[in-house]
Symmetry: C3
Subunit: 155 residues, 3 copies
């Protein structure tokens, strides 16, 4: 693979993993028109949750950001699986970032930046997206972060 | 009504209820292009919440799954109201499943399967969707589950 | 500006603020096709959060509704920035309303009505939207309410 985005990933030292299989009765992405809806990706590395627990309840901001960065890598893995060629990503349209949070934790945007920043590093202008970041009571498998995405694609 | 999907519902023994009226200042669905956005449906049966409370806080996994299945039936009721003929459903694109959760509860995917599984039973391949499932602090009217949907339609 | 919607805003005594800059690594809106995705807007007035804290934990229903109304004004400010002319709003398609909630608070729909009602006052039929309203554990900067939107646009 010698695409522009694949080269960029290599330059960043990022290896795209085999995309995570859904943990339940759904599929990882659906295309409709020029939009690709990607299921919520938790911070899986291989077959285990890389960062478990809650922000404000034992998980540090740094670990939360690392979890969000892993979510970005998993989103990219799903884009690769859906599109074959990551150069077909026209625009990352929207992210929703869910941060497992103690009620006192209010730095969700800083956490989800770990995902947003990587997408911009990889895709440049096409990686800049609209976003919401919220603090939820709990996430699947006790993951610290889950991020879903809507992506505009070509072809 | 003798459509394919209506027959399938009958075979499954499912009666589609009168769709729930919104509990506030919004409408139950909006079409834009070929997409139908359906408002979050809670686990209403008739005029009451079928399963109230939180997972991990008194509501069992089984009751949570039952609540999610009721949300699926309510989503189908809204599709029926929007489309007239359920055979116009081309693809269930995306669900977001909100599970009222105590902070210790991390089986949101198993809960929302109660919704996902029914949609696949009813619509087959067209029912397979992208999804996020998250644990929220509380839901309207103390409902245990709320699910919203985006559906691709024809016609 | 003498557009229909601008006149309506003036009649309602609403001044559209300078739109809030994102508090992190994202952009306030992305257009794809005829859809405009607007990032989650919290209840910022000027540079400060107008209503901080949680519903059911010190913030009254009335203050929550006021917070949601401010979110609506901030959404309109982003539409104005994106479109130039608010008459290009064809339809407010979908809102997701996140209410920072103590686990015992279950009136999220009444809170988010503060946002929904204003959008209908301003845009009329075009302002009527699909919606989900959920209670989350915490929001950025301790805001009481955050609302994101998808809008169909012309031109």
């Amino acid at each position: 693979m010698s695409s522009r985005i694949t080269s960029r990933l290599a330059a960043l030292g990022i290896t795209i993993p085999v995309p995570a299989a859904p943990v339940a009765s759904y599929i990882p992405f659906v295309r409709t028109g020029q939009l690709l809806f990607i299921s919520g990706q938790i911070c899986f590395e291989g077959s285990k949750v890389a960062v478990a627990g809650k922000l404000g309840g034992g998980v540090s901001l740094e670990d939360g950001q690392r979890a969000a960065r892993i979510c970005a890598i998993n989103l990219i893995a799903q884009m690769q699986a859906a599109l074959g060629d990551l150069d077909r990503v026209v625009k990352v349209v929207k992210l929703t970032g869910f941060v497992a949070s103690a009620p006192s934790f209010t730095d969700q945007p800083k956490v989800i930046n770990g995902c947003s920043d990587l997408l911009v590093e990889v895709f440049g202008e096409a990686g800049k997206h609209a976003r919401s970041a919220v603090g939820v009571a709990a996430l699947p498998l006790d993951a610290a972060v889950e991020v879903e995405a809507i992506v505009e694609i070509s072809g």
